[in-house]
């Protein structure tokens, strides 16, 4: 899973040569061997490295505050989102929905690596949601639909249908 994400990221960044990754441990943490220096271990570490390699530092945030926010969300992705249980899903989505209330992207008004990896991470949860639930977490759905249509992002994941208008408006059914 993580390896596919990294390969999609490479395609998005326009990196010509795809890297060869290996994994370590039962959690299959990705590892990138480098020619000059120690190996890079961890999804977030490797992703940040790739971004720097592709000379797209703005994807990590263009101010100190947004850089911190991006790192925070990348951290959140691998610690809280990956492997969250069924009971946690509601809370995760509720908090995420509240956070996105007044933001276009996770870092505010700028598209960053945080959006990419939160999209990859949350896809499996969104795919399972019924239309009524998608309407319940309106902000998450809005952000998700925006990111999945962002050019070059949605490589290995199937698109999730999002309706233009609300169909659950009334108080019934």
């Amino acid at each position: 899973m993580a390896l596919r994400e990294l390969s999609s990221l490479e395609k998005f960044l326009g990196l010509k040569k795809p890297n060869k990754y290996s994994t370590q441990g039962d959690k299959k943490v990705p590892v990138l061997q480098s020619n000059n220096g120690p190996a890079l271990v961890g999804l977030v570490t490797i992703a940040c490295h790739l971004v720097k390699e592709a000379k797209r530092p703005e994807l990590l945030g263009d101010s100190a505050e947004s850089r911190a926010v991006v790192q925070q969300w990348l951290e959140h992705r691998v610690t809280k989102l990956d492997g969250c249980t069924k009971e946690d899903v509601k809370t995760v989505l509720k908090d995420f929905n509240l956070y996105l209330q007044d933001k276009v992207y996770l870092a505010g008004n700028q598209f960053t690596l945080a959006d990419i990896f939160m999209y990859y991470g949350i896809h499996s949860l969104i795919v399972e949601l019924a239309i009524q639930e998608k309407e319940q977490y309106m902000n998450v759905t809005r952000w998700f639909d925006h990111i999945q249509h962002y050019p070059g992002i949605r490589h290995h994941l199937p698109p999730v249908a999002v309706l233009r208008n609300r169909i659950y408006t009334g108080r019934h059914h």
């Binding site: 239309i131 249908a161 309706l163 208008n165 609300r166 169909i167 659950y168 108080r171 019934h172 059914h173």
Partner: protein, 533 residues
């Protein structure tokens, strides 16, 4: 005397003394009690005497003798719904139920109820009513039927809690015609309380089973009265609209020899030395009437389905409103006729039953029913496309599951703003054997379903009117030809092309009003768990 003896004697004496002390106390207490009792009795007697003495209004109230048609009274009784300011200062008689009665000092406030209407009434100590009369009024049990002579008076402030808000009655005479037992199995106020309000304010509501077990009382509530008046309206509009279109009403047999829709969900009855079945639909007989040249027929009658489904929309016995008609060249003539009938029914309800709709909405709020003219008709393939767009995976020849039907209903509502639509050209594979296949595409059929608020209310189609094709289709569906021989034979002697459909009265009412359980629109519902009342 020995010492013991002396001791014994003193002990005895002591005991005697003790006894007499106890005895004295006991006697004293008894004496007090007796005195009190005597006092009370004397007081009561005095009171009674005084009440009998002072009761100048003795003839103006009481429990009337049971009405055994002893006399023909030439007395006009006014209806509660006619109590308007126009009748102010008139002395009138009426008969109604006591909805509530509340004594407050020298006055007693009553709410008198007649079906959906109620009015405030007042008995006050004065020159017409005595203290004893007010007390009598306050003690009349709820739901008792009373005859009341009263003066109609206009009120300054509107009485919000009653249907007649501009007047109140000042009672001069009140007689109980039929007394109710004091303990009611359910309280009418609780039965009409909206569920939300019940939870918020911690007041009681009545659950459905209790209501159904005590249906006679539950049917007295304003909500129930409104629902069944509206249902009566649906039947009336159905009959009138179709009669105006030239349809003939027919009656079909309900005891039949073979299951019409399939063997699984049919009730068997013992029929002398053999068995028979209760009809699952009038399908076969409607069609035979068409072959008998009645051209356009409809019937209103019970339908029996032995389906062990305990859902919000299934009953084992319900009222079917069925239509069948011969057409000239295309089965859409049938669809148009049916949808026009439905639209006339919706319009008739909207225009003539607003009071009833509002009454039901008070307890069960819902959005008003919306429909388009002409009725929206979608093809099955279009519906599939809409569902695919919403992320639902379905094959071309799959039937719609209930959740998908409901979802489709919402998508249609959002896109076209209608609660009523027709879905045309269902896949042939999921329809009964007597459905006419589509002439151009063998995967589809000339069949249709109609939906209200996303739930199916009618299933219909062009029928196969050719004995040869019918036999082929029956064989394809692995149906025993022997069992349907009479049915197939009816098409051998010239049969016109025809089609039709049937709706369930209870379901249509439930969905029109936006209710959530079909038992609310069935007077004495029958389901796998309920056979009484």
């Amino acid at each position: 005397m020995t010492k013991e003896g002396v001791q014994g004697a003193t002990e005895e004496e002591e005991q005697q003394q003790a006894q007499s002390k106890k005895g004295l106390k006991k006697q004293q207490k008894e004496a007090e009690k007796a005195a009190k009792k005597a006092e009370k009795q004397a007081k009561l007697a005095a009171e009674q005497q005084s009440t009998e003495e002072d009761d100048f209004a003795k003839d103006r109230y009481g429990v009337a003798a049971m009405v055994q048609s002893q006399q023909k009274l030439d007395r006009a009784l006014v209806r509660v719904q006619d109590l308007t300011p126009e009748k102010a200062d008139q002395l009138i008689w009426l008969r109604a139920r006591v909805h509530t009665s509340r004594a407050k000092g020298k006055q007693c406030f009553l709410v008198l109820r007649q079906q959906q209407f109620n009015v405030q009434a007042l008995v006050a100590v004065g020159d017409r009513a005595s203290k004893q009369m007010v007390k009598f009024a306050a003690n009349i049990t709820k739901e008792s039927i009373v005859d009341v002579e009263a003066m109609v008076r206009k009120v300054e402030q509107k009485i919000e809690s009653c249907s007649q808000q501009d007047v109140e009655l000042h009672i001069e005479r009140i007689f109980v015609i039929s007394q109710s037992e004091a303990r009611l199995p359910l309280q009418l106020e609780d039965a009409v309380r909206p569920d939300g309000e019940g939870e918020e304010e911690g007041r009681a509501t009545v659950n459905q089973d209790t209501k159904l077990d005590n249906r006679v009382i539950d049917l007295r509530t304003t909500t129930s009265q409104a629902i069944f008046r509206l249902q009566s309206g649906v039947c009336q509009l159905f009959r009138d609209t179709l009669t105006n279109k030239g349809f003939v009403e027919i009656q079909t047999p309900k005891i039949i020899s073979a299951a019409s829709e399939g063997g699984a969900n049919v009730f068997t009855v013992s029929y002398f030395k053999t068995s028979a079945y209760l009809a699952q639909s009038p399908q076969l007989y409607k069609q035979m009437c068409i072959c008998a040249d009645f051209d356009k027929v409809f019937c209103v009658g019970p339908v029996f389905r032995a389906e062990d489904s305990n859902t919000h929309r299934h009953l084992t016995e319900f009222v079917g409103l069925d239509i069948e008609m011969a057409f000239n060249y295309h089965y859409h003539e049938v669809i148009d006729s049916i949808t026009d009938t439905m639209v006339q029914i919706f319009k008739g309800l909207r225009d003539n039953f607003q009071t009833e709709i509002q009454t039901v909405n008070k307890q069960f709020p819902s959005e008003p029913f919306k429909f388009l003219e002409p009725t929206l008709r979608l093809e099955y393939t279009e519906a599939l496309a809409m569902l695919h767009e919403a992320g639902v995976e379905m094959g071309d020849e799959d039937d719609l599951s209930t959740p998908n039907e409901k979802l489709l209903g919402r998508l249609v509502k959002e896109k076209y703003d209608t609660d009523f639509y027709v879905l045309d050209k269902y896949p042939l594979a999921v329809r009964p054997f007597y459905t006419m296949p589509d002439p151009n595409n063998p995967k589809y059929s000339n069949s249709y379903d109609m939906f209200m608020r996303g739930e199916e209310i009618l299933s219909g189609a062009q029928r196969v009117h050719d004995a040869q094709l019918l036999t082929e289709r029956a064989i394809h569906h692995q149906i025993d030809l022997e069992k349907i021989k009479a049915y197939i034979d009816s098409f051998r002697y010239g049969a016109p092309p025809h089609g039709g459909g049937g709706i369930g009265l209870e379901r249509v009412c439930m969905l029109y009003l936006g209710l959530h359980n079909v038992r609310q629109t069935s007077m004495f519902p029958r389901d796998p768990k309920r056979l009484t009342p």
